[in-house]
Amino acid sequence: MKYIDEYRNEADAQKFIAAIQRVATRPWTIMEICGGQTHTLIKFGIDRMLPERVTLVHGPGCPVCVTPLELIDKAIAIARRPEVIFTSFGDMLRVPGSRDDLLSIKARGGDVRMVYSPLDAVKLAQKNPARQVVFFAVGFETTAPGNAMAVWQAKQLGVQNFSILTSHVLVPPAMEALLGSPNNRVQGFLAAGHVCTVMGYWEYEPIAAKYRVPIVVTGFEPLDLLQGIYMTLQQLEAGRVQVENQYTRAVRREGNLPAQKLIAQVFEVTDRKWRGIGEIPRSGYRLRDEFAAFDAEKRFDVGAVTAQESPLCIAGEILQGLKRPRDCAAFAKQCAPEHPLGAPMVSSEGACAAYYQYSVSSIQYSVESDTEH
């Protein structure tokens, strides 16, 4: 299949592995920002093919994982209302709030529906004029244009029974928060290709310069990631600090200008709380005042929900690349996909879910075989 097979070619992958072996002469720690990249790395076994001196740590780029617990509780409070059709991307439905998740609300009679596009939620509102249709608009810059378009269309079409519960977050402020932390150990970044498809990569140039850290805009296929890792290592070994673009087939420096224009029409930058990380200044979007009528938090008066995280969950440290899922005492014990303590265990972009699904059995197996010898 075009655009897939050529990026999953075994012979080319082996060439990159060999090149990485040659170029990496010292230990290096690289963070892939996006949870989709984490999953590719583990799903294709790339983590086990790399030399030990190259350490990959997994970044905060899992929209489901960083959505604040309070907001999930608010979503649940809204979804329980009989007049509401609560719509969401599939990923969000299993994420634990402080007591429930959205799927369990559905099990108890709430009208919770999965949609693939926020525009489908607008259509659903048009088809159900007597109901309130709410879309759970989370995500990074990647989903912002679609969510902005849904609100913009609803306003143009006069669809008054549509609103969004939003918690948009932005990558560059999160990278700065990580790099500014005294615990930081990340020496190079793989930036998320799809975020850069929308926003371009000019925003990363000042970050690279200020923190002396190479950044390579990287795609999502196995060969994209191998090439991104190779390019980052080349910079690190040579002492270069640049923003480079591995994902040239999709990303331009300035990004997608019409999409950026639409985002700016509908959203404005605001401070945001990130689940597990805390408040980061100017790190998200909220609806502009002209679109405040489409803000579900205002429409349903759920302002005062507060929530408590599980004390066992180390999601925050995992999302900041300080620890890996296997470092967590609750991993695959108290915390598993059927009874998650934190969001990274349920999302298809969560690091804990990737380790659990693609490698937990191997841990058990190696423990078993160790005891035999």
């Binding site: 799903k43 076994g45 929209p63 529906r113 989370v138 990647t142 972009e349 693609y358």
Partner: protein
């Protein structure tokens, strides 16, 4: 009399005070219901094999006995409908016991308000499928529930079949050295259904693979007889869940080769876009045959000679390492675990 109120529910109520859709998804939560609630409650030898059907000894014969309920939405979908699916599903469960199907029952649960024309289409489709298979629908039942209490039509079919004397298939018979074959491309049913579901509609020419497998299975059994060790149809939960079940019940390891698993481009494209792993997507016209290595090429040829096996392939093997686990060699040569999912896969955000 047993005091039922004093018996403790084996499913941890703190985790699952209510049944969720994931309990019917064919993954780990379905397994939990079966292992913790159903098997201990109904405990008996025929049930405990956890096969697609029970194998019962009768005078001068071994019978296969299987039941399945169909709750697919929408009831008409590209490549089939709930009627033909209900016939194929139970015929296939019998075929996976190595049985020749003898007869089927049909129990309909209809929702008040279902258009009579839709019911007629479903019933005609059941009859067409049954005639094609050559299995009569010999008994049945009809119930109607209040509007809003059903989803148009639910169908249960139950079937009996006869197992030839030289056939001994069971999930526990998978042996180290055996070879795993499949009769064609995976994930077509699940993706075809998803393409017409509200909220996820996308345009595709893709059709469900719903088909009766008794005939191609008979060819495989003709070619290899007792050297066919396991037959399973990877329906709900897909190839990954089925192979995990086999690995667990036979206490063997499964090694898959991703590049060898047949997959249509349209399915692959849809899975890439939706963020789904085709290994977990449902099939309704595919089966796995786990056979002795020396007969594998003949079984492959027998499959390919049948219209339902044109894209048949050898996709993996049974190994002594990592008993109970499924490993996959990825397209780029890395290894990873293929685990069971806890529920249904959900499309991702981005």
């Amino acid at each position: 009399m047993t005091d039922l109120t004093s018996a403790t529910c084996p499913i941890p109520i703190s985790d699952y005070p209510h049944v969720t859709l994931a309990h019917g998804g064919g993954g780990r939560l379905t397994q939990m219901l079966i292992e913790k609630m159903f098997v201990p409650s109904f405990a008996n030898a025929a049930l405990e094999t956890l096969h697609d059907g029970a194998i019962l000894d009768a005078p001068n014969a071994r019978l296969a006995f299987s039941t399945d309920s169909f709750v697919v939405h929408p009831i008409f979908f590209p490549g089939g409908d709930i009627g033909s699916l209900a016939v194929h599903g139970t015929v296939n469960d019998l075929a996976m016991c190595g049985a020749r199907p003898l007869a089927l029952s049909s129990a309909l649960i209809l929702e008040e308000g279902l258009p009579m024309q839709d019911l007629w289409r479903v019933v005609q489709s059941m009859q067409n499928a049954a005639r094609t298979v050559g299995v009569p629908i010999v008994t049945g039942d009809t119930k109607v529930v209040d509007r809003g209490k059903g989803d148009g039509v639910f169908i249960n079919t139950t079937g009996v079949g006869v197992i030839p004397a030289n056939v001994h298939v069971a999930p526990t018979r998978a042996q180290v050295g055996d070879v795993i074959l499949i009769n064609g491309a995976i994930a077509e049913h699940g993706i075809a259904i998803m393409s017409v579901r509200e909220g996820l509609e996308f345009e595709t020419a893709l059709q469900s693979d719903s088909a009766p497998l008794h005939d191609i299975v008979a060819r495989v059994l003709d070619a290899a007889g007792e050297r066919v060790h396991v037959l399973r149809d990877p329906t709900r939960g897909g190839l990954a869940s089925t192979l995990n079940e086999i690995a667990a019940s036979a206490r063997v390891g499964v090694r898959l080769n991703e590049a060898a698993i047949p997959l249509a481009d349209a399915v692959r494209g849809a899975c890439e876009i939706l963020g789904l792993d085709p290994l977990y997507v449902a099939n309704e016209g595919k089966f796995l045959a786990i056979v002795a290595r020396e007969i594998a090429e003949q079984v492959l040829a027998a499959m390919r000679a049948h219209p339902l096996g044109a894209r048949a392939a050898i996709i993996g093997e049974i190994v002594a390492e990592h008993p109970g686990k499924v490993y996959l060699r990825s397209r780029i040569g890395g290894m990873r675990v293929v685990d069971m999912l806890s529920g249904e896969q959900l499309p991702r955000i981005c």
